[in-house]
Symmetry: C2
Subunit: 416 residues, 2 copies
């Protein structure tokens, strides 16, 4: 893409009420726009990152037999009354609204109830199980405070998968499989090393649920990490019974701040019983379907990555989810030879499917171009100017110095 055509400008300042580092950086670099606390629009560079994170998650969910659907935000109260979650007393983050005839509706903060109801048309027999269904869908949560940028949204993009199983062991097996799939996602996003499986309370069906916690001072959660075992526990289960169960020595636990970037939960028959989702088993008996839920905040992950991967100059995107792979910066473009050379490099990379942001702007100083490139944080930078002659300068986003290289070699490297 030509930067001269990109409509977004970098901003000198983030809004004064924006105190989170992730949103400050993303706003200044022109990736997002703050509509109100916890509500952000995605601009071209930001939407590219969001979609790449989404695609990585999609691939890993498909790899564990997930089938993608798209449920609705608008919710009738009936299904939620059946599970006891319609009342603001039990679910305190509802946004509610009304039809013209005054019938009350809710904006879905999660989707156990409508999906359980939907599955009644598709699950009848043990032969219809197991099934795994997921979506990328906008959730609405009426948070009292929302000060962590993309990390705590009132309107945010989430991947939620739900499993429908015949037996507890079938659920357990999928649950373990999903843990691996989740860790693959974090690894591909560059968060693998600092994300730890964390034991949390499990509700009535299971002793534990699990969170995936990315270590960060900006985190809203506190966890206790056993660095030898590479697991953690959260505050809910910080007690002697759990230490014993997990064979943990509490003296070795290290307290850390962390960002919850995913959670998985054995729901058991809570929703299938409430909404009457049953199947006829091999022996002819009718049983409630055994369910699990598996969530990842897509926009929260984008915020987490922006929060963690940056330096004093700006964002530093991991290659897999950077808005572009290469930032091609043209200087002295009023010089016809330089212009031709830069255009040729842009065409060559683009024709071969390398994603390039081409800074082709003529009326911007080199200093401003480099400062903006640092703020935007694209991993590879190629500079073509009068000084580089038939060569180009190449540097990584985080390199201090650039190297003077043959253009052909650099282009080949970018293709690789």
């Amino acid at each position: 893409m030509r930067q001269s055509r990109l409509f977004t400008k970098t901003q000198k300042e983030a809004p004064k009420d924006e105190i989170s580092k992730n949103a400050q950086l993303l706003i200044k670099a022109g990736f997002i726009n703050k509509e109100m606390a916890g509500v952000y629009s995605y601009l071209p560079l930001g939407l590219r990152v969001l979609r790449k994170i989404e695609q990585i998650i999609r691939e890993e969910m498909n790899a564990i037999d997930g089938q993608e659907i798209l449920l609705t935000a608008l919710q009738q109260k009936g299904h939620w009354q059946a599970s006891g979650r319609w009342s603001d007393d039990t679910m305190d983050i509802w946004f509610k609204t009304k039809l013209k005839n005054n019938v009350e509706l809710g904006l879905a903060p999660t989707h156990e109830e409508p999906l359980t109801n939907l599955m009644k048309k598709h699950i009848h027999s043990y032969k219809d199980l197991p099934k795994y269904v997921y979506q990328f869908q906008t959730k609405f949560r009426n948070e009292v405070r929302s000060k962590s940028g993309l990390m705590r949204g009132r309107e945010f993009l989430m991947k939620d998968l739900y499993s429908f199983s015949r037996t507890t062991s079938e659920l357990d097996e999928y649950y373990e499989k999903s843990k691996d799939a989740y860790m693959k996602v974090y690894k591909r996003l560059g968060l693998g090393e600092i994300t730890v499986v964390t034991f949390a309370s499990g509700g009535s069906f299971s002793k534990f649920s699990h969170e995936f916690q990315t270590i960060s001072e900006a985190g809203e959660d506190t966890i206790y990490v056993d660095e030898d075992k590479n697991i953690a526990i959260n505050k809910e289960v910080y007690n002697d019974e759990v230490f014993k169960l997990l064979d943990i020595d509490p003296k070795k636990l290290v307290e850390k701040k962390a960002i919850e970037v995913g959670n998985i939960f054995k729901l058991g028959t809570k929703y299938s019983e409430a909404l009457n989702l049953t199947f006829v088993d091999k022996d002819g008996s009718t049983k409630p379907v055994i369910m699990g839920s598996y969530g990842i905040g897509v926009s929260r992950l984008m915020g987490t990555i922006a929060e963690i991967f940056n330096d004093e100059k700006g964002l530093v995107w991991p290659e897999n989810i950077a808005p572009f792979k290469v930032h091609l910066v043209g200087l002295n473009l009023d010089d016809e030879d330089v212009k031709v050379q830069a255009e040729k490099a842009y065409q060559s990379l683009t024709n071969d499917g390398v994603e390039v942001l081409f800074d082709d702007r003529v009326d911007v100083t080199p200093g401003k171009k480099f400062a903006e490139a640092d703020l935007i944080g694209i991993p590879h930078r190629i500079i073509i100017s009068k000084r580089t002659n038939s060569k180009v300068e190449y540097k990584d986003r985080i390199d201090e110095e650039s190297q003077l290289l043959d253009i052909k070699n650099v282009i080949d490297k970018m293709h690789g």
Copy 2:
């Protein structure tokens, strides 16, 4: 995809309150689920169709320099008060909700106001113009009645593009370009022949706006078509002045029912003046930006296509947007030879990137398999059974009879 794994089942009946043909067919074939009137979830087959329509529109919007973003549903009232559209008296389809602190919010039915406000950070000078910005975003409209299935949603997916221009002639030029892009979209969707550019009233800035109307008895609109000129006018502009302006002989106009599948509108400076989106022109003077809006209902298009392309047996998808290109139907799969042959065909097609739904179910009768395949409406069908030996039966969805052909030839044809 293996049909044995697909979680959706075809349904014998659509809900009794579902009177529209498009939703009846899509529900019975397992493409969508009705959550309430005008609110539908997309199941795996349906989501594939929706995303393909979206991608065709995206390609055509990118081709006319559109830059993709994603705005939010939640809206503060300030920007809408500035334009006079916050009140239910002026905008009668609002869904409203509230933050915990009782601050009123709206769910966006359209996005002129928030985008105009956003662009104030990115447009300052004539050098920043023109710019074209679009999104695929879920709209919420509190319709009193919503009985036309996907054709009139309360929650629905829309592409909305907005143009920001320096001069009226720049706007006019883009407006004509967008007309061509829209017609390309309808052509690629198989609706080109029955979709007609329709003159509608244009508001205060322009004499006309334009609708794209697809001729259908199921349409909620009435238009008057001049079949020689291949244009139409709607009810709003059915008058002598317009006949004269457009050089139309009213006696030649044919009244038709039609579905509005797109509309484009010259907004002029209505929103830029209300929200103070200005630029400094070449001569140093400050002027309001000149805007246009360009909408296509993505889910409405899916409903329109389902409404129009079907027969007594079910859906008949155009190839470009069918959920799969090929329906590979295996019969007698308990026969090892047949099973091996069918699996080989599935692998061969899949490996080459042909999208195949493989009916690999063992416990379903041929009669039911064919009836379901007809209902689902995938364009190409390949049948492998004991009867076909080393050959396969091939038919189009709408062919009565199948042909016995060499498997290699059919597979080559599908690759082509």
